[in-house]
């Protein structure tokens, strides 16, 4: 009996896919203990413990902790009929807040001939704008409050790639002010470990290799993880029971504080949840540009004729 209303053909295809996937990711290779042994050959596992509140306070020596996150959202049209709203927030535990915002629409860009890869460039452009905004708020946080630690949502490496120039400035100023920078990324997007361990298997990535091998509070570091020449250290941390660990990175120049930073991230992460420090979740929740926010703002500030001519897609008039 068919429980789901899908065609027989689709079912067959799915089963085939399952078989193919199993071939590429065989159970004997992705065995937990075996994988751990393999990983141990190119790096080392260690355990960190949680800090209590007073310990954390003592370590910060009265300076605050700042979380930085940004968010972007666009009106639901097709390129170039879109308007993107950017927002970034640096929020300190002492009640400090710094907001930054920006807007972007391709409609106002210089005329371009439609080209191959234009959409990807658009996305890249938005990413760059957002990274710039977040780096800007972090820089502001360093200058204004000189906090103990700045927690960034996402890996520092990405900020460096997305907006190298701004990043350099932030890294320099943070170093000078003695502000520790640390990035936490919930997805590990690198392939360096997988390439080293399985040179023949171009498809494998670090995410799959690290899946489920670590206990809560366990840290994995390896020279392979650290992108050469980036000036960054990188570690993998399993802050919760979730089998998917998170990536943590920081400045090489500040690597003396690496263990403490890992402890900090671990201590601030709720046992349940996705493995991101609660402070970043709080910032994320506040900064998030929701659909309704974009809609309300566009409705209030863009003239109706322009709005309908340019931004409102037909799709929004769907009845069903």
């Amino acid at each position: 009996m068919m429980l789901l209303p899908v065609s027989e053909k689709l079912r067959q295809k799915l089963e085939e896919t399952n078989r193919d996937l199993r071939k590429v990711y065989p159970e004997e290779v992705f065995n937990r203990s075996a994988m751990k042994e393999r990983l141990a050959t190119i790096g080392q596992f260690s355990q960190v413990s949680k800090w209590s509140g007073p310990e954390m306070k003592a370590w910060l020596r009265g300076r605050s902790l700042v979380g930085v996150d940004g968010s972007v959202n666009s009106t639901p049209g097709t390129h170039p009929h879109t308007l993107s709203v950017f927002q970034a927030l640096a929020k300190g535990t002492g009640g400090e807040e710094y907001w930054a915002a920006d807007l972007y629409t391709p409609l106002l860009e210089k005329e371009e001939k439609p080209e191959e890869g234009q959409l990807a460039r658009e996305a890249q452009h938005r990413g760059r704008l957002l990274a710039g905004l977040e780096i800007g708020t972090a820089l502001e946080a360093v200058r204004r409050w000189s906090p103990g630690v700045i927690l960034m949502d996402g890996s520092l490496y990405h900020f460096r790639i997305d907006h190298g120039k701004a990043w350099e400035e932030l890294a320099n100023e943070a170093e000078k002010a003695g502000v520790l920078l640390v990035g936490v990324s919930e997805e590990i997007g690198t392939q360096a470990l997988a390439r080293t361990l399985f040179p023949g298997q171009g498809n494998y990535s670090d995410r799959e290799v690290l899946f489920g091998v670590m206990q809560p509070g366990e840290v994995y570091i390896s020279p392979e993880l650290e992108p050469p020449g980036s000036g960054l250290w990188k570690a993998v941390l399993a802050p919760t029971r979730n089998p998917q660990p998170v990536g943590v990175d920081g400045l090489l120049s500040q690597s003396a504080a690496r263990e403490e930073l890992l402890r900090l991230v671990y201590s601030l992460t709720p046992v349940q949840g996705r493995g991101i420090p609660l402070w970043l979740d709080i910032v994320d929740q506040e900064v998030r540009v929701t659909d309704s926010l974009v809609e309300a703002m566009v409705e209030q500030h863009i003239d109706p004729d322009l709005r309908h001519r340019l931004l409102v897609p037909k799709r929004s008039d769907r009845v069903l």
Partner: protein, 612 residues
């Protein structure tokens, strides 16, 4: 503070991140189009998105929160406070969302809160939710009351609640409702203290023997006014009573009716036949007695007695009188005559006919508060008489004035009673009900006012309830009573829901005077009800005292042997006024030895009780 969400012309929601709302506080909406409408907070709530509730949401790890708090994060800063604000008067169109909201200054809202001066009104308490107005309060309204919270006196912070006594001309009657422990009696006490301060003649019926004003609350110190010569208390049967000769036949009927159950038709007939104008108690009582005797003996029996030889002339006269009485009233049923006799006796035994109401009249004329005490049933009878008599005096005076005559002055007065549902019950008849109903409906004309307190508004006569223009509603738990109160007042659904949870001493005042419900905390009373011993403490104290006395008496006789007990017991009975026997003494000695107060030594031959 800001108006958020959907608004209507009566209600808006107000949100604030950094300020908690107080229930019943007054706020000003800065909507210029509507000329800054004002309203009262009728519902409040707060939530924190980091500490959600619900099965679908996980509660955030408290460990992490605590760590964040350690490094300076104030989790309270993520709290959002919401209030539902009801506008005092309906706006012509809904309030604009997003408007600013602020606390008012006192002069902006004075007219909603105060409509008299402290000199002319009863200062009953503090209006709840007005704390933020404390700073801008007019000088004459400051430091008028103290409040009792958790056994501690606190100075006034908000606006005092003044009840305009002058307005009683227009809205004459007050009801006080609330279950036991709700602060109802306490509210009544404060109201009476205020009436005394203004020297308003007041008549209080006090079935609970709790309305005394001699014991001052120590905590007030010198702040409390001296009320000592403003009141007196009298007990029915001791200082006051009914002068029988003043009673009309109708009065006698209702009085005897009040003495126990309802009167049968034939009993009423007996009274109507036998009572004469200006009868004194002995004359009426004798007549009843004689008629009963005459009927009992019968004409034949009486005539037979007349024929007896050894009758003295007086006895002959008496028998002849009886025969005459029999001729007149022989048709009355003996049982009814006896029934009336029994009831009359009961009233007399309660001392009802020993005195008159002169002390009460005099007290009222002097502008005092007169507390009348007595058992509940006696009070019912007596109140019927005394309220009726005083009301008549007042009415006669006013009527005379109206007709251009001089008349004898009798002051306007307030009648107060607790357990009012016993005096004017719904559905059934009770002697005082008629007069209370009359005053409720007509008293205004003559300056006769009522303050009725009860814990069962549902059982109070509807006509009377409907005439209570101001109602103080304290904590009420019973559903039917809440429903009655909702029907009889302008309490809203939200306020009705709050009734079972009100703190003792908090009350909703629903008054035609304010045109809305005001939430008030009754002030601390100047005086305390007479101290009553806890019966269980009393039990313990009495026993300890007796033991001490007995032990003291036998101290010198120790050691006591079995054989000495008879002697000892008679000594104890004599010295301590007890009535013990040897067994009883033995039991007590056993107990004292168990308690270690004496030592018991047993040998095969004798038992010895000795001092320790």
């Amino acid at each position: 503070m800001q108006v958020v969400g959907v608004t209507t012309q009566q209600e808006v929601y107000v949100a604030s991140k950094d300020r908690k709302f107080r229930i019943n506080e007054i706020l000003v909406i800065e909507d210029e189009m509507l000329d800054h409408p004002k309203g009262e907070v009728v519902e409040t709530l707060s939530y924190n998105r980091l500490i959600p509730m619900g099965l679908d949401k996980t509660v955030v790890d408290t460990e992490v929160i605590r760590s964040l708090e350690q490094i300076g994060y104030d989790i309270g800063s993520d709290e959002v406070n919401l209030a539902k604000l009801r506008l005092f008067s309906e706006a012509p169109h809904p309030v604009r969302t997003g408007c600013g909201v602020r606390s008012p200054r006192f002069e902006e809202v004075r007219r909603f809160l105060v409509n008299t001066t402290p000199e002319r009104g009863l200062i009953l308490g503090e209006i709840r939710g007005t704390e933020s107005l404390g700073e801008t309060l007019d000088e004459d309204l400051r430091d008028r009351v103290q409040l009792l919270e958790e056994g501690q006196l606190h100075p006034q912070r908000g606006v005092p609640f003044l009840f305009d006594i002058q307005s009683m001309q227009q809205y004459p009657h007050i009801g006080i409702f609330g279950g036991s422990g709700s602060g109802k009696s306490f509210g009544l006490r404060v109201m009476l203290e205020e009436l005394m301060k203004l020297s308003i003649p007041t008549l209080v019926f006090d079935p609970h023997f709790e309305m005394q004003f001699a014991e001052r609350m120590a905590a007030w110190g010198d702040g409390a006014p001296d009320l000592d010569d403003r009141w007196l208390s009298v007990q029915v049967g001791q200082e006051v009573g009914i002068r029988f000769s003043d009673l009309s036949t109708r009065d006698v009927v209702s009085l005897i009716g009040a003495a126990g159950g309802s009167l049968s038709e034939s009993m009423v007939n007996v009274i109507q036949s036998l009572h004469r104008r200006r009868d004194s108690y002995p004359s009426f009582s004798d007549r009843l007695h004689n008629v009963a005797q005459a009927i009992e003996e019968g004409v034949q029996g009486l005539k037979k007695r007349l024929r007896e030889d050894d009758l003295t002339p007086t006895e002959v006269e008496r028998v002849k009188d009886l025969i005459e009485l029999h001729q007149q009233y022989g048709s009355l049923p003996l049982a009814s005559v006896k029934g009336v006799q029994w009831r009359l006796n009961r009233l007399d035994k309660a001392g009802l006919f020993q005195q008159d109401i002169r002390p009460i009249e005099q007290g009222l004329e002097q502008g005092r508060l007169v507390v009348v005490q007595g058992p509940s049933w006696v009070l019912q009878v007596f109140s019927t008489y005394v309220i009726g008599a005083l009301y008549r005096k007042r009415r006669d005076y006013k009527d005379a004035r109206m007709n251009g005559e001089e008349g004898t002055f009798f002051p306007p007065f307030v009648t107060v009673t607790d357990e009012a549902h016993n005096f004017a019950p719904k559905g059934v008849d009770s002697p005082p009900k008629m007069i209370l109903k009359e005053i409720a409906q007509e008293g205004r004309k003559y300056g006769a006012f009522l303050i009725l307190a009860t814990q069962r508004p549902t059982l109070l006569d509807e006509t009377v309830t409907a005439q209570l223009n101001t109602k103080f509603v304290f904590r009420t738990v019973r559903g039917t009573d809440i429903a009655t109160l909702r029907e009889e007042t302008d309490l809203t659904a939200e306020e009705g829901k709050r009734l079972p949870y009100l703190r003792s001493g908090d009350t909703f005042v629903s008054s035609a005077l304010f045109g809305r419900t005001v939430f008030v905390r009754i002030r601390a009373a100047y005086t305390d009800s007479p101290h009553v011993d806890n019966p269980f403490e009393e039990l313990k104290a009495v026993k300890a005292d007796r033991d001490d006395r007995v032990l003291h008496v036998i101290q010198e006789r120790l050691p006591l042997f079995d054989t000495d007990l008879l002697d000892a017991v008679s000594l104890i009975n004599r010295e301590c006024g007890l009535d013990w026997d040897v067994d009883r003494l033995k039991q007590e000695l056993e107990e004292w030895s168990k308690m270690g107060r004496i030592v018991k030594k047993e040998s095969p031959f004798v038992t010895r009780y000795d001092a320790k």
